[in-house]
Amino acid sequence: MSLRNIAAVVFFTIIAIFLIVGALLTHPFGYPENADMDQYIIDNTQSETGADNGVTSVVFDYRGFDTLGEATVLFTAVAGVIMLFRRLNK
């Protein structure tokens, strides 16, 4: 075992302990502590955005700018992949 491996194991164990304790402390599954924002969206999705699908109303209306970013991520990946497989000489 090299020094690098030992450091990696220590780092890994610390993260593991913290995350497992964190998992035990999270709110019980199925009972969110606080759901004001989401309840507002559920109650108002039909009247404010006109959509029946709450998720679509979040994706394209309430958080539409995120979706623009998401579409841009895909656009970036396509541009990157096409650029990396380009012909190198003119």
Binding site: N5, A8, F11, F12, I15, A16, L19, I20, G22, A23, L24, T26, P28, F29, G30, Y31, P32, A35, M37, D38, I41, I42, T45, Q46, D52, N53, G54, V55, S57, V58, V59, R63, D66, T67, G69, E70, V73, L74, T76, A77, G80, V81, L84, F85
Partner: protein, 114 residues
């Protein structure tokens, strides 16, 4: 306690992925590790959305009004698409690395060949 099992599963997935990234030497395995971490995080977001006895957040006729939270669904959707984009780019780079070095072992790549 029993209610926290989904979170333990999330932590398990994240730890498996991290272990693959830290300890594996094959580039493809590293990429698989990153994808597993990402699945763990997506699972975490989805578990946050669930409410006991709730339905999907879609109105159809006269259904129950207790619906699961819509925002984490939207976040997961975004994060899945981002994951696909990152995966495509990583595989592209791996193809190029394999063409240059004829190996996928991290210890054998990376030398300068001026």
């Amino acid at each position: 306690m029993i209610y926290n099992i989904p979170y333990i599963a999330v932590v398990g997935l994240i730890l498996i992925g991290l272990a693959a990234v830290i300890f594996k030497r094959n580039l493809i395995k590293i990429v698989i590790g990153i994808t597993i971490i990402e699945s763990g995080v997506n699972l975490f977001l989805i578990t946050l959305a669930f409410r006991e006895n709730s339905t999907a957040p879609i109105y159809h006729g006269t259904g129950s009004r207790l619906m699961s939270l819509p925002v984490p669904h939207a976040l997961t959707l975004t994060s899945i698409v981002i994951g696909v984009a990152v995966l495509a780019l990583m595989l592209t780079l791996i193809i190029h690395i394999y063409r240059h070095y004829k190996t996928l072992d991290v210890r054998k790549i990376g030398g300068d060949e001026e």
